[in-house]
Amino acid sequence: MAEKMRSPLGTAYGLGSAREGAKDWWSMRLSSLALIPLTVWFVVSVIGNIGADYETFAAWVGSPVPAILLVITIAVTFHHAAHGLQVVIEDYVHVEWQKLTLLIAVKFGCVLLAVAGIFAVARIAFGS
């Protein structure tokens, strides 16, 4: 960049890139890319399962291809959601303790929901 975009005070503080931004950026793009086909499959599956009774739905979840794709979809979705929510919080919440509390809550919540979802699929697939 020809012109420096930082004020003299900003330069004096010396806060800048932590040099690890690209990894986060890339992981978000990769999860987005994976979610395109997964979402299409998921929507078609939801439509196919509308009105299904308990036995039909459980048999569908437990069959190999849906079970595998569901686990992948859950894992990638919550990774993507945790990351997206983190960026939103970092952009709009500027009180440090509130930001930290929300970031921790989002991360923990996403891991909890992802594990719960994957556990549910596994339990149906392998029998309780």
Binding site: S32, I47, F78, A81, L85, L113, G117, A120, V121
Partner: protein, 130 residues
């Protein structure tokens, strides 16, 4: 460089957001809505893992007006976020930054969101009846 020369953000109270900006903030809005919507999916899976009784409670909610309304918002948000997300990937690849391309993509995304939502619901209702 004096601070006055730096680019300024628009003042949100007095600045009418163009469609592109509204669609940008909607991407975040639908993303947050979809994050909340994952609770619904996890509920369905946990209910199915727990047994027929728990699943029936889920189904009763899913078939209610509130359940259908949640599903409508959820499906429209999903299609919007999917399509606008693809646009973001195209931007990340370095294409489509001109005003004409952006305006065209805005329209395409909005029309396709409505179209996909309608098609999904027609297909869903058809598969429900059969």
């Amino acid at each position: 460089m004096p601070i006055a020369n730096r680019p300024l953000s628009p003042h949100l109270q007095v600045y009418r957001l163009p469609l592109t900006a509204l669609m940008s903030i909607s991407h975040r809005g639908t993303g947050i809505a979809l994050s909340a919507g994952t609770l619904y999916l996890v509920w369905q899976l946990l209910a199915a893992a727990s047994g027929p009784d728990a699943y029936e409670i889920f189904q009763r909610f899913a078939g209610s007006w509130l359940g259908l309304l949640v599903l409508l918002g959820w499906s429209a948000s999903l299609f919007y976020h999917l399509l606008n997300g693809i646009r973001h990937l195209v931007w990340d690849a370095g294409y489509g930054f001109s005003i004409e391309a952006t305006t065209k993509a805005n329209r395409l995304i909005l029309i396709a969101t409505v179209a996909l939502t309608v098609v999904a619901w027609v297909a869903g209702i058809a598969s429900w009846r059969s």
